[in-house]
């Protein structure tokens, strides 16, 4: 039985290899895949090195600052960069829309910033043509071009009757044609497999690399089944091509657009101005840490004096201004984190709703799974934001501790009028070591694979449903 299936599949491959149209299409798509894979790999690899270099430079710059008042260092700030994970050479994911670096400073959580365009050509949007996009959108088009006539061609050219008369059953024919198309599509996964192997040697995340190959293989098999199904049902090649073009259009363009709009409608997100306005109102209530004289801090002052049984701030063993800075920073951060968590929860809800449209479009399913496995999804970006915030809070509070414990209150308040006090108010640059080295890595391969379970489930469901319908139809194939 297997040799018969292979014979039919081989004859189909021969047909493609001897058809100028099919060979032309195969070559064009192979070139497109190689080109986009190479360009994406080079771009992301360059970004990896560039951001790693910038991260090191930012840390060196911070640590090389001269002796100075610790609060000046709080405002001098620090940059952190999200270094793209190795699998981003396949799917850069949200990298280009969420920003890749952040400026960390006291009293505020800045939004992520975007890298400058390296060339004016990128302003035209060509940089968005990634390997992932080529596989998700364009490879199905190639499969449609070569596969839309798989079964219907046998009917149109009157070879179906002899095939069946030679003992081939409808199901065998269906499966052999599926093998032929699946073989061609899996051969197209070669550039992806090479990139996954490269990524594997970069960060040793074999599960994630295998997962990327697995999800794209599954995705292409879904398209093979879909194409074969249409080719079995309709009665002409042109109709088959038309129907499949419509299916592609809705799966690749219409449903993803509806998914985004539905997510936005189901979980409305307030605008940045509105969010910032609400947060600023709350922050004003917390008080300004630069002004120790605000009523809220007068109570703190009284409590401290009572605690140390002192009558003047100068008599306290700690710098009151530093204490105020610490308390204010903690309170501000609590408010900012609450708003950030709410915003991230809202974004995650929107992403979840959009991803659920994978039940309607395999393109939506594979894109969500691909981003999760590559470590370039929204969840990973949120992890980056949280980690960056943790670093920010730690170094700001570290500097505030230096302010509190090492800088005398009297020097602090007199430094603008007394040159000697100003000199003593400069803390040793050794204290800038409070800055932790920032290293952000996405989740391990197993966790990323677990996060991609839903897209996998969606694609498996697509494959099973299409196969079940296909087998049902194949049983009844007649000349």
């Amino acid at each position: 039985m297997m040799s018969g299936l292979l014979s039919i599949a081989r004859a189909e491959w021969q047909f493609w290899l001897r058809s100028r149209l099919a060979v032309g299409a195969l070559l064009i798509f192979a070139l497109l895949l190689v080109a986009t894979s190479l360009v994406t790999a080079l771009r992301m690899s360059n970004a990896q090195h560039e951001r790693a270099h910038q991260q090191t430079a930012a840390e060196e710059t911070f640590l090389s600052q001269p002796d100075r008042h610790p609060h000046r260092m709080v405002h001098y700030g620090h940059y952190v960069f999200r270094i793209p994970p190795p699998l981003s050479i396949i799917d850069p994911g949200v990298d280009s829309v969420t920003g890749q670096s952040m400026f960390l400073e006291g009293h505020r959580q800045n939004t992520a910033m975007f890298a400058d365009a390296r060339a004016s050509a990128e302003l035209g949007g060509f940089e968005t043509l990634t390997a992932a996009l080529a596989y998700q959108l364009f490879l199905p088009l190639l499969l449609i071009a070569i596969g839309h006539g798989l079964i219907i061609r046998e009917r149109e050219e009157n070879t179906l009757a002899p095939l069946l008369a030679h003992g081939v059953t409808g199901i065998q024919l269906y499966f052999a044609k599926w093998m032929a198309l699946a073989g061609a599509s899996l051969a197209m996964l070669l550039p992806l497999a090479v990139m996954c192997a490269y990524a594997f040697f970069q960060d040793s995340a074999p599960l994630a690399s295998a997962g990327v190959i697995g999800i794209y293989a599954l995705y292409l098999l879904v398209w093979c089944s879909l194409i074969l199904l249409v080719s079995s049902v309709v009665r002409s090649r042109s109709l088959s091509l038309g129907i499949l073009a419509l299916v592609w259009l809705s799966a690749a363009l219409i449903v993803p657009r509806i998914a985004v709009e539905s997510a936005s409608s189901a979980v409305p997100a307030p605008g940045k101005l509105e969010t910032d306005y609400n947060m600023q109102a709350e922050l004003r209530e917390v008080g300004d840490g630069h002004d120790a004289g605000t009523p809220r801090f007068l109570q703190l002052q009284a409590d401290l004096l009572a605690e140390y049984d002192a009558t003047r701030l100068e008599d306290l063993p700690v710098n009151f201004r530093g204490v105020v800075a610490q308390v204010a920073e903690a309170d501000l951060t609590e408010v900012m984190n609450r708003h950030a968590d709410a915003r991230m929860a809202l974004e995650a809800d929107q992403a979840r709703i959009a991803a659920s449209f994978g039940w309607l479009s395999p393109v939506v399913a594979v894109s969500a799974g691909s981003r999760a496995l590559a470590g370039t999804d929204l969840a990973t970006h949120h992890q980056f934001l949280r980690k960056a915030e943790a670093v920010r809070f730690d170094f700001v509070q570290g500097l505030n501790r230096v302010h509190t414990e090492q800088l005398a209150y009297s020097d602090d308040i007199n430094r603008s009028t007394d040159a000697e006090a100003e000199r003593r108010a400069r803390m040793s640059a050794d204290n800038w070591n409070v800055l932790d080295q920032f290293v952000f890595k996405p989740d391990a391969g197993g966790e990323r694979l677990a996060r991609a379970y839903q897209p996998f489930a969606m694609l498996i469901a697509w494959l099973l449903v299409l196969s079940a319908i296909g087998i049902r139809i194949a049983r009844r194939v007649q000349p």
Partner: protein, 240 residues
């Protein structure tokens, strides 16, 4: 004698329309029968029913004593079928087509056997390795006939086998059919060609609008059926 093909009170409907009505005949081993009739007479439908592509609405169509529609695999294993238009792959050459279909039928495909079969159907040697999309209709038909021979199946169902062949090739084909029958093959062929049918068949069944309207046997000791009688009956029903 063993009955190889048998239609008994066979009625078949296609797309809701009755295309065969109460047709009965038996074909013994080594016999050549021809189904003769105009367009829509039900000739090809009869062949497709023996192949199990169509199920009888009533009556039976048996291959080697078993109901074809209930034993499809066995029926198709026993039958070599030559469809109306020689249906082979244009992107393959003659050898590749033969090897392909023979592998599907799990039959042997040795090169000398392929050459012998192609020589029997008189396909020029220099054409055998050319893709069949460059073949004339007659050349394609020859390859299809060679395939039917190579199958070595005990039964041959041939739908318009001489369509597209030149007169010399038709004579050669008729000799080939008689030769195959003498070697024990059972052959049922469908044709419009009264003259050819009379020369090659042991018995002719005349079909008209799905009904069997006449049967003509080769008289003992004669080398052909009475062409005039068949012509007359055919003409009567065609004008009716």
């Amino acid at each position: 004698m063993t009955t190889i093909l048998s239609a008994q009170a066979l009625s078949v409907a296609r797309s809701g329309q009755q295309v065969l009505r109460d047709v009965s005949f038996d074909i013994e081993q080594g016999e050549v029968h021809a189904l003769l009739g105009g367009n829509g007479a039900g000739k090809s439908t009869t062949l497709l029913t023996f192949l199990g592509f169509l199920s009888p609405a009533s009556g039976s169509a048996q291959v080697q004593g078993r109901e074809a529609c209930d034993n499809i695999a066995a029926a198709r294993q026993a039958i070599a079928y030559l469809p109306e238009s020689a249906s082979l792959y244009g992107h393959l050459n003659a050898y590749e087509n033969l090897r392909y279909f023979l592998s599907l039928a799990k039959a042997e495909a040795h090169q000398p056997a392929l050459d012998t079969a192609l020589e029997r159907v008189a396909l020029q040697a220099d054409a055998r390795e050319m893709r069949m999309q460059t073949y004339s209709k007659g050349m394609r038909q020859k390859v299809a006939i060679a395939l039917a021979i190579l199958r070595e199946a005990p039964i041959l169902l041939l739908d318009e086998p001489t369509s597209g062949l030149d007169p010399a090739a038709i004579d050669e084909f008729n000799r080939l059919v008689r030769d195959l029958a003498e070697n024990g093959r059972t052959i049922l062929l469908v044709t419009h060609d009264v003259y050819g049918a009379c020369h090659v068949a042991d018995r002719i069944h005349l079909l008209h609008k799905g009904e069997l309207v006449g049967t003509f046997d080769r008289p003992a000791g004669m080398n052909r059926i009475d062409t005039e009688a068949v012509h007359a009956a055919f003409a009567t029903h065609s004008s009716a």
